[in-house]
Amino acid sequence: MNQIEELKRKNRRNTAVIAFLVIAMAVLAIGCLFVGSADMSVSDALKALFGGGSDAQSRIIWRIRIPRVLAAIIAGAGLSVAGLVMQTTLNNAMASPSTLGVSNAAVFGANLSIIVFAGGFLTTGNNLKSFDVGANPYATSVLAFGFSVASVLLILGLCTVRSFSPNVVVLAGMAISSVWTAATTVLQFFATDVGLSAAVVWSFGDLGRASYEKDGIMFAVVLAGTVFFMLMAWKYNALLSGEATAKTMGVHVEGLRFVSLLLASLITAVCVSFLGVIGFVGIICPHVTKKLLGQDHRVTIPVSCLMGSLLLLLADTLSRSLGSGTALPVGAITSLLGAPFFIAIIFGRKGNHGSC
């Protein structure tokens, strides 16, 4: 009976970890509201937060910092949980949120928009053919999303018709990714240097593009996905025993894999289309979670979400405080910040039996 008590303590500890992470995230999120290139004191920011302060200050808090912090929380959670689910359903430690070619497809779509249709969303109104057309702020996101969804459906479609083994999915994803990358290279080869620089800038993830509408759309998709993943937690646990064994325990592995890959890819597609490519969150956070707390998906799904939010919040805050007035690409920061930590975790922990 002692062991059972111990077990209950462990479950309570996991609950405590989740609660701690929620609090840490809330504290960090609120802290982030006080960091930025504008010279606002903490009391100014507080005043603006509660309806006082100047118009400009309340605009900075309500229209710029809050949407940005929300975007970090939502996209971080989404990318991280998508990575976790990809790793479990494909039984591949190297799987990432964009294993099905989502990011590369989104980059291609964005390049197409910026270079060919010149519907750029940052600094390009450089339509070569028509001189008075300005930038359409949504064109690039829409095309990026369209192509990433097309990429996902293409791979899942092919795999459904032929073979749905994880290795086939991963290989097909690699092949399709390289097709998008090659197509992007071709586009960029024919691009103006103006379009090229805009396209390259787009592919750096930037949370500054967030707005309440975009946050709302991302939130809906991430929430729907995460709720589904949570409901399937036991089935993912069963998958850890191997595909065949999971089937004998009553899990409809093929269906679960299809829906999981689709949802994880949709989450990634939405985040990448709105914010640009934010690498590594989806690999680092799930692995760190698994190394620290084991692989029980009832725990790893919420904890991965929270870890992703934390990492992206931290990275974004750093990116905004390092450059004064011009934020560095947050995607680079996530890798710079996360990789050393990641390496320390994978090499540092004892009792590591290499299963991921």
């Binding site: 111990e6 850890l240 025993s241 065949a244 004998t248 325990m249 039996h353």
Partner: protein, 252 residues
């Protein structure tokens, strides 16, 4: 209770048939042992019975019901599997066993599920392991946990694929005793492949010799003869009686 009729199966439509009209029958509470050369179709027959693969033709009946028409959850409550290579992922032993009940609770385990698992762990003297990481245990311990997990499915039939394949002799005996106890005490039928004839003779009630994707000989201990083994395995053996027990010796 389990009746397999004329099962045919091949991996992919153009591949050579692995099962070629395999038929067999197992009764309630019986321990059936599948014997045959590597590649004779034992594992594939298991996979078809377990629903991991679907046969191209033939029938499988379980207590008179068509097993091939059941969904995975219904099947999982009847037949449990103890695979040869066992993985759990980085879960506790308790959770690994609780997972066996996923076909009952689906999304969230209830109090009854927890109690059932506690009971099983107590029965199998595994309570001390409950909080350990299942993946980090030894081969024999993992095998026991896998049996506990199969028990959690409350099955009527348990399928063992080479249960003693990776174990030392002490653990081999332990697992065989454990399985035999289940069959005798809980009236659970067992279907197992084994490659050791003496273990098979000690463990089994019925014997199925597979050759070229079909069951060529089936019956009680009496069918385990030098001739049958020579025919099925192309290997000469000698059978002696020691203390009234058949003992099979390798001939070199």
């Amino acid at each position: 209770m389990l009746k397999v009729e004329n099962l045919c199966f091949s991996y992919g439509s153009r591949a050579e048939a692995v099962l070629n009209g395999a038929s067999m029958e197992l009764k309630q509470g019986e321990i059936g042992i599948l014997l045959g050369k590597n590649g004779s179709g034992k594992t594939t027959l298991f996979k078809n019975i377990l629903g991991i693969e679907k046969p191209q033709s033939g029938n499988i009946f379980f207590e008179g019901e068509d097993l091939l028409k059941m969904n995975r959850r219904q099947r999982a409550r009847r037949i449990a599997y103890v695979p040869q290579h066992i993985h759990f992922g980085d879960l506790t032993v308790f959770d690994s066993v609780l997972m066996g009940r996923v076909s009952y609770f689906g999304m969230k385990a209830s109090r009854e599920d927890y109690e059932a698992v506690e009971r099983i762990l107590a029965d199998m003297q595994l309570l001390d392991f409950a909080n350990r990481s299942a993946e980090a245990l030894s081969g024999g311990e993992k095998q026991k946990i896998a049996i506990a997990r199969a028990m959690a499915q409350e099955p009527k039939l348990m399928v063992f694929d080479e249960p003693t394949g990776n174990l030392d002799i002490a653990n081999e005996q332990l697992i065989i005793e454990e399985a035999k106890k289940l069959a005798r005490e809980k009236n659970i039928s067992i279907l197992s492949s084994l490659h050791d004839f003496n273990q098979a003779l000690y463990f089994g009630d019925r014997f199925f010799f597979m050759k070229d994707g079909a069951v060529k000989y089936a019956g009680g201990k009496e069918i385990v003869t030098e001739e049958v083994i020579r025919d099925v395995f192309d290997a000469p053996v000698q059978i002696r009686q020691i203390d009234g027990q058949k003992v099979i010796l390798n001939v070199f």
